[in-house]
Amino acid sequence: MIPDVKGNGLKMTENLRRTPLYEEHLALGARMVPFAGYEMPVQYAGIIEEHNAVRSFAGVFDVCHMAEFRVFGFGAFDFLQRVLTNDLRRISELGTAQYTLLCDEDAGIIDDLIVYHTGDLEYLIIANAANHTTDLDWLTSHAPEGVTVSGSGPTSEMSPEGTVELVDESERTAMIALQGPRALSIVQELAGTGFEVPDRFTITEAVLDTVPALVARTGYTGEDGVEILTHVSMIAGIWRSILSFPEVAPCGLGARDTLRLEMGYPLHGSDMDRGVDPISAGLGWAVGRDKGPFVGSEAIARLREEGPARRLVGLQVDAGIPRAGYPLLREGEEVGKVASGTYSPTLQTGIATAYVPASLAEPGTEFEVVIRKKTAMATVVKPPFVKDTSLSAVKA
């Protein structure tokens, strides 16, 4: 009954990379799966148990596979303002961060990113692991006139005015996410009394149980919490310190996916890709309106004016579990396919996202979703699917 499983573990394709926490995962009994070129934990105790731990207490995730790029120099602002969609002036204050998109000239979404303003002339970008090389190539080849991009590592001298350096920090940078209503008190305890927890969407320095780190109040679960960055050689120490708190559960990619989908957070590669623009994806809020020209700005302006043909919507399903690719029907005609779908441990129903014709995107609109041999009712709802979390309390 499990055709792709043989023996005692999932078969791994060769040449998968391991994060600096690989041995920790094995010791914790994780089930490892291939993901974006890495061998990653999909679950430890179980997806639902881990999911519920994050919603009620705290969970910690290995996100070392994600890519980190550092952009610095006198031209850093102009370069990023020109190649990313969001308005970088919104994070002019040091330590602030924003969600943004890397788009092509046709407004296709190459990746979604978080940009942290980490220094006077410096920005830190966190990118999806699967897009690591694509992003780097795109950024390198799309430097505007008068700007040179070097991917070769930091130089000893500050570059002359008008230049910028782009450094891939991924090899030496490790990242974990600590998420849940108890996350902040745990960070506070690890960082000691002098430490002030950063505001939402800001980043600060900290020493966590003797380990120097960057602590950002960001995440992908809908709970309050932090993402912690440090050198790869030191991440295991922080990981263990966090897990020494009895209320913290190690969490895998399985729970990461159910948590993010309950919030309606899009996943690049599932909910959007190069064939989709920010307006159709409901990400217009991450595109600056009066920042001047940037890559994709003309196409996005046109889409804003004309309105997109399709929109990404949230769907709640009355029976069964919708999964990616399942058809959506309206009066017997296929009008779309499920983009992301899962079982919601919080709601205990199936939830999904899908691109549907813009005229059918209103909340309350009903579809039939074909779940293999059966059909179920799918109703458009405005995400988040789960409304009350520790993060919604912060935002309110």
């Binding site: 009954m1 499990i2 999909v42």
Partner: protein, 125 residues
């Protein structure tokens, strides 16, 4: 993990024989590989099943798997308690987590099934 009084199908179902009635469920290995079961789709009383063919589906958060009938016959009882408590399949796969009872039409099909020892050995191949 693999009770010796049961017989096992290669697709990870078990059979408990009582006269001409076979009770069928999934093995410890299967429930462990699936993870937390969130949905079990079973046929109805009176439906017939055929050995080595699918009779239902089982879903965890991440995956869907088909259930294979180890023997042929007519379904005489379905474990409807799993509709509201699918996690029972994980908690008690050989007891309360059973799925269907089948009145066997050809008990010689049992000869094709594995013993606990053979099944366990097949898992490490």
């Amino acid at each position: 993990m693999y009770p010796s009084e049961l017989m096992y199908h290669k697709e990870h179902e078990w059979v408990r024989v009582d006269g001409d009635v076979a009770t069928i469920g999934i093995t410890h290995f299967a429930q462990d590989q699936l993870g937390e079961v969130v949905y079990v789709d079973l046929p109805s009383d009176g439906d017939s099943v055929t050995a080595d063919e699918t009779f239902g589906e089982i879903e965890s958060v991440k995956s869907v798997s088909e259930l294979y009938a180890p023997v042929s016959g007519e379904i005489v009882e379905v474990n409807s308690a799993l509709d509201d408590a699918s996690e029972t399949v994980n908690e008690d796969p050989y007891g309360e987590g059973w799925m269907i009872k089948v009145k066997m039409s050809d008990s010689s099909e049992l000869d094709a099934l594995m013993s606990a020892g053979d099944y366990e050995a097949s898992l490490s191949e």
